[in-house]
Structure formats: C-alpha cells, structure tokens
C-alpha cells in the first residue's frame, strides 16, 4: 500500500513539474483573488451588490419571519440574492436589456441566443418574457376561485370596476413624475393588486421596471390588512359599517359552468388584448366547476401553480439587479404603489356609498374595498372591519363578489392599457 502511494506521489510531482513552465502561480492566485465576491464588492459599483444582498435578506426575513406573501416573496427575494452575488453571473441583464430589446442588435428578440448563451435563470426568464407564467398562474387562480358570490350579486362587478380607479390615478401621477406612458401604465397596474397581471403588463410595456414593480405589487398585497382599514374607517361612518346584508341566493351548477364561458366570450369580443389573462382565468374556473376534469383541476391548483410560482418568483427577483433597482425611479415606484393601493381602496368604498344612494337594499360600503383584487385578503379585511362595527355582521361572502370582480377588472384594465400603449 505504501509503495502505491509513493508511486502516485512521484507521478504527481512529475506532472506538476511538466506543467510548471506554463503555470504562473502569481497570475493564477491574482486571478483567483480578483474573482472572489469579497474583492469585487470593493471594485467600482460593487458596493451596490452588497446593498442589494442586504435588501434581499430583508425581504427573506419579511417572507419567513413575518410571513408576508411567503409563497412569492421568498422565491423573489432569493432570486434577487442570486442575481446580485458579485461575480456569480447567474442572470445576464445585458442579454435581455441591451441585446434582446435592441432592434439594431443581431440578437433582437432571439430566444435561441438566450438558450445558447444564457444561464439557468436566463432560460427560465423566457417564460416571463413571453408572458407564459402569469397566464399559467391565472389558470390555477381560476381553478381556486369561486365566482358564486359574484354570480349571485352581479352588482359586485361595479365595485370591482370602481376599485380600478387606483390604476388610472397612479397612471396619471406617474406621468406627472416624468415616467413615459408605458412606464406609467406598468406602475399604475400595481393598483390592481394582482401580481400576475402586473408582471404580464410590465413585461409587455416596461420590462426594465419588472423587478421593482413585482416587488412593490407583492409587498403591498401582503400589507393589505395594514393599508386598507384606516382608509375604510376614514371614508365611512359607524352607521354605514354596521349595515347588515341579506344572505346571497344559491347559485346553480349550470350558472357556474356557463359563467366562465360567457365571460370569456364577452370580454374577448370587446377587448381581445385581455383575452390571454381572462381566458386562462376562466379556463381554470371551468375545469373546477364542470367537475368532469377533476384531475386537471387538482393539477393546475397544486403542481402546475407551485412549479410556475417557483420559476416566476425566482426569475422576477433576478431582474432586480443593482443597476436597475438602486435608482430614484424605484423609490418613486414604491411610493406610487402605496398611492395606487390607497386610491383603489377609496374608489371601491366611495362607489359603494354612491350605489347606496340608488339602492333599496343598502350595501355595506366596506365591501367596496375588496374590489382591489388581493384575493381573499381584501375580502377578509372587509369582514374583520364589519365585525368590529357590528359583531353580527358577516360580510365575507358579500365581499368575495367585488373581490373576484376585481381580478377580472384588473385583467380588463391591463388589456385596455396594452391595447392603447402596446
């Protein structure tokens, strides 16, 4: 045994000796040291990566410790961490921004180039860029959504429409702050409180803002129970919050089956740009309500949804590089995101009060705030606030109507913005 080791050791010495002429230990060690992340942090704008790593860790803390939308915030934050590791080159922003979007580049809209030269995150990002992931998520969302409360009370659609005011007020505000129309529309859609819709529209109109917009949308969605109640209380009297609503009528299975088909046809005929989102949402819902494809419905609700969420979250997080994120624009987007949520909430509540002027059976204005999507958190906030004013108040199912109408409303808003500015 000792002899074998001696022979191997001698062979190694001979090999090293052979290569020693071409091997410069000084150059190699310098290269190695320069490639280290610790060193790159102190070179040029390397400190920005350190700031981004800190932000990613903060978001991870929010997702794990505070449980703020952890299903999405965790992969987004980790994607952000991966992309900002100095020297790791996990995601190539220049490949997407400088080459893919530049009409004069030979790689303009070339997915082949991305597949050949890109890393794992670049390849997965194709799904975001092509608008595939948001639509797949919408199939899952549709399969998990019960449109019964909306069918039972069609007036809820108007509350869902009113809450889209946040999108358009933010659109005009972003304009005032100097963002161009495409950027302003992408920022405005945060007010729709719908992550997949925000990502879908931003990838089409302002892909360079995807990181900040996705993070703002998901962070504020998690903060719905904090943002909405003060606005709801400010805009309503205690008497209004105490209004009890009648139980909703029973919705037949036939109605639930025809609903997704009818909505798809009507919306797509009026606004074809909204068809991908609405179509996928309604496909998922039809799978669930028809009851004949239980296996498919379960798959889109669980496996498909989970896989796509991982891909979407990680790659969207990866777009938040130091060069695109650490900018005054990001701060403006974060500020306008909160304005968008606030105005959307106010829009729903105020419109519910206006509706009460004309309705015989009054509705509780608190359900108007659920018109921002954020399903089902916004509806839960309406329920909680309603019960605080009147413990006998059960608003959850009534609020689910505007809540799911908000999903349709924000998809329609994305469609109209896309048709005007795309």
């Amino acid at each position: 045994m000792k002899k074998i080791f001696c022979i191997l050791f001698m062979l190694m010495l001979v090999t090293v000796g052979c290569f020693a002429e071409s091997f410069d230990f000084g150059v190699a060690s310098e290269k190695f040291v320069n490639s280290m992340g610790f060193v790159q942090i102190f070179q040029g704008d390397g400190w920005k990566s350190l700031v981004m790593v800190a932000i990613a860790c903060f978001l991870l803390w929010l997702a794990i410790k505070k449980q703020y939308e952890p299903l999405l915030l965790l992969p987004i934050a980790f994607g952000m961490l991966l992309t900002n590791l100095p020297g790791a080159n996990m995601f190539h922003t220049e490949m997407w921004n400088d080459e893919f979007l530049n009409p004069s580049s030979e790689y303009y809209h070339s997915y082949r180039h991305v597949l050949a030269e890109g890393g794992l995150l670049d390849v997965l990002y194709i799904g975001v860029k092509a608008g595939i992931y948001p639509c797949l998520i919408f199939i899952g969302v549709g399969a998990m959504t019960d449109f019964g409360p909306l069918i039972a009370n069609p007036k809820s659609f108007l509350l869902g429409a009113a809450a889209q005011l946040g999108i358009f007020i933010t659109f005009i505000t972003a304009h005032a702050l100097g963002f161009d129309s495409q950027e302003a529309a992408s920022i405005g859609i945060i007010g729709g409180a719908d992550g997949p819709t925000s990502i879908f529209l931003t990838t089409k109109l302002a892909p360079h803002l995807l990181g900040p917009i996705a993070i703002a949308a998901y962070s504020y969605m998690a903060l719905v129970p904090v943002i909405q109640p003060p606005i709801m209380r400010l805009l309503t009297t205690k008497k209004e919050r105490m209004i009890e609503m009648k139980q909703l009528r029973t919705v037949s299975k036939t109605e639930k089956i025809i609903f997704p088909i009818a909505i798809t046809i009507v919306v797509a005929f009026i606004l074809p740009d909204a068809a991908p989102l609405i179509g996928c949402l309604m496909l998922g819902n039809l799978m669930k309500e028809s009851g004949v494809v239980e296996r498919l419905a379960k798959t889109v609700q669980n496996e498909l949804m989970n896989i796509v969420v991982i891909f979407l979250g990680t790659t969207v997080g990866a777009t938040a590089t130091a060069s695109t994120f650490l900018d005054i624009k990001t701060l403006s987007i974060l500020c306008m995101g909160i304005v968008a949520f606030g105005v959307a909430t106010a829009g729903g509540v105020i419109f519910a009060k206006i509706m009460n002027l004309f309705l015989k059976e009054k509705i509780n204005p608190l359900i108007g705030s659920a018109g921002v999507s954020a399903v089902p958190m916004a509806a839960r906030v309406s329920q909680t606030e309603g019960q605080k004013a009147n413990p006998r108040n059960f608003l959850l199912m009534h609020a689910m109507g505007p809540n799911v109408a908000g999903v349709i409303g924000s998809a329609v808003a994305a469609g109209i913005l896309l048709s005007m500015l795309g």
Partner: protein, 119 residues
Amino acid sequence: MINLLADVVWADAWARTCMGFGVVFTVLLVLVFVLVAFGIFSRLSGNKTPKVAKVAEQPAAKPAVKPVASASDADKAAIATALYLYFQNVHDEESNVITIHHTANSAWHHELNPHVLTH
C-alpha cells in the same frame, strides 16, 4: 431622469386615463347585464331553488324538544364541541399503539424457562 411635471402631454394623458377607466367600467357594466340576463333566463327556465312556501302551509309537527329562544355562547360552544367530537370520532379513539413490556419473570423468558423454549 425624472422631470417633475415636465414634458407631459397632459391632454393625451388625461384622454388615456378617462378612456381606460371608461372602458373598464363599460366592460364590467356589460358583464353585469349579462349576468342579470342570465339570472332571469335561468329562473324562467325553471332552474329555481326548492320552494319553501308550500312547506310553510302544512301543519307544523309538534317539536320533540321545546324550542329555546336563544342559546347562550356557552351552549353554542358545547354544541359545536359535541358535533366536532362526534364527526371526528375522537371521543372513544384508541391510540392504536401496542407496547410490549418485557418482564423478567415471563413464562417465555429464555433464561428462566429454558425447557419451554427447547421443546
């Protein structure tokens, strides 16, 4: 760069805002009409919930238990707990874990009863 209130074509921006919000409202209003029409059609085609009125006309059966005007919170909690236990079958659930305690003076013990094992 962000230029506050600079170079904005306000007429365009407002036109897009109004048109966008107007279209969203119109589309959802159309959907309201579609659903209302659908509800009416569904009712006309006999897709109704079971009639309750006829049941009320029949003479009411004598209740087996004297109705209580309103149950207290404690009563409701007790009923809910009883129902939960009943449906979960946890009131007489066994652990289903069999534990064998080895005892030194067992008749099967090898050292104490070598004859039994060698038979």
